[in-house]
Symmetry: C2
Amino acid sequence: MTTNIFSKSLLDTGTNEVINPDTYFQNNLPPSTLPEDENKVKEFVNKHDKAGRRIVLVTSGGTTVPLENNTVRFLDNFSAGTRGATSAEYFLEIGYAVIFMHRQFSLQPYSRHYTHSTNCFLDFIELRNDGKIEVNSQYIPKMKSILEKYKKAKQDGTLLLINFVTVADYLFLLRSVTQIMRNLKENAMYYLAAAVSDFFIPSQKMVQHKIQSAEGGLTLTMDQVPKFLKPMVTNWVPEGFIVSFKLETDPSLLVDKSRQALTRYGHQIVIGNLLTTRKLEVTFITKDSELKIQLSEEEVNNDVEIESKIIPELVKRHDEWVKNT
Amino acid sequence: MTTNIFSKSLLDTGTNEVINPDTYFQNNLPPSTLPEDENKVKEFVNKHDKAGRRIVLVTSGGTTVPLENNTVRFLDNFSAGTRGATSAEYFLEIGYAVIFMHRQFSLQPYSRHYTHSTNCFLDFIELRNDGKIEVNSQYIPKMKSILEKYKKAKQDGTLLLINFVTVADYLFLLRSVTQIMRNLKENAMYYLAAAVSDFFIPSQKMVQHKIQSAEGGLTLTMDQVPKFLKPMVTNWVPEGFIVSFKLETDPSLLVDKSRQALTRYGHQIVIGNLLTTRKLEVTFITKDSELKIQLSEEEVNNDVEIESKIIPELVKRHDEWVKNT
């Protein structure tokens, strides 16, 4: 047994150099589905740009870091994708077209209300004598409202789903999608709600097969994932309206860490939130302001979702951004 | 950057000692829901034992290893829970009562056919003019068959769902459930399809808050999870019929590793499978036999599930086990 659980690899390497994004893209392989996804995004962006509709990129869910090339084990970030999936619904409702870039199998807009594990729809339906299958009447009011919004988004083609699994998939996809959206300039919003890994194992250093556990423990040494907000803000979409999230567990770090991120990358808003209270309270942090958005007890009791307050506030600020650019 | 990605912690500690299961249980905290789950299992086991029904414990999905006490990051094992959820359906169909011990949010029997992400049921239903919501006729035949089996299992009370997240949750739950099932002797089957972590970070060594990524990489040193099949076979349920799984990615290791596990723990069957072909082919390995079970091309084209062949073969062997004990 060892007592040295977490040690910065500085100790091992004598350097704190973090590779730059270009090097990252040179040294890692893009996902095989990238060209196909790029085509879908191009078509989607062209269509809605012509129609004069604003477009938002919503990223959602956690990225994985595989420990083996034939992956059995991986490092993951806690995220069911609730924030992203919920937010996407409110963006659609307000008239935005949404590119929903999410972790495979994480929650999606609309279907999130009926996941296979928490609200299994097999409990909501019944076989009738005439052989038809019908939704029980007590579930109809809520389902009707969700179903109508879902069918409208499908009919209008305002929701595009693309997905990722690993942090490499995510980064390649993010670069491609933002570069396609670049021409939208200030009309595009980027709502980065995905929980992106901070550490990774470069694929050329990864073992091929499942790690064997014959004897003793295991030591993993990981490199830091380059901070992609920097090139995104500076080069990929310099005119876009960019919103990032900061999730912490320690309340005393939250505002400082959020402000640091804003200063370092120079984008428009950081939304700070704590693991334990993230569905009840968030803080909007900009260069010169701080706004707390909370749910009242009454709102909590009425199942109001905090995203129903976050999105309109963001859209208001996006309006101002468009006017002032 | 370091080139030393994977090194056995032997190097760090000078020992290859793996803690024994008793020490593990002394040093880790049980999940808070354990007493509640134990009560459910006791009631379920009593009821079906009285009814003369055989009971199988099916474990399913991957366990996590949190890296922080307030968990943002964790290590996970690749598993959607397909094997376990599918197998549970065939056990139910053949007349067993099933304790389905699964990773929270992983696939479940019956609802697995309609997950929120791959077969969203919002695509299958329509709002009628009279305000009712109905399943479209082309989806009825398949859904009818699933729905009927699902309702029957609910009505008969033959399916009990309990869940885990971390490897510690899993191990405490496994010990409790098997000890409750112990009195069933040879009539109980244990079908261990969950993908259990091999490495963990003892909670007393874990950091409290989210690891900060200010500079450089990260080194994680993990202890080996004790092998719980040993006390399970020897002490917890020595008369039970125990089936474990061995997943490998390297075909050349599969049979040897499976046979090693069988020799080491002394249980009845290891089912060996490869990551890439696990839905098409498995190998049953016993002390003195080896049986390959495969799907033909025709069966694959007809959507036959390999579990429809695995479970009847296991039940046949369980029958023999009961007769010969």
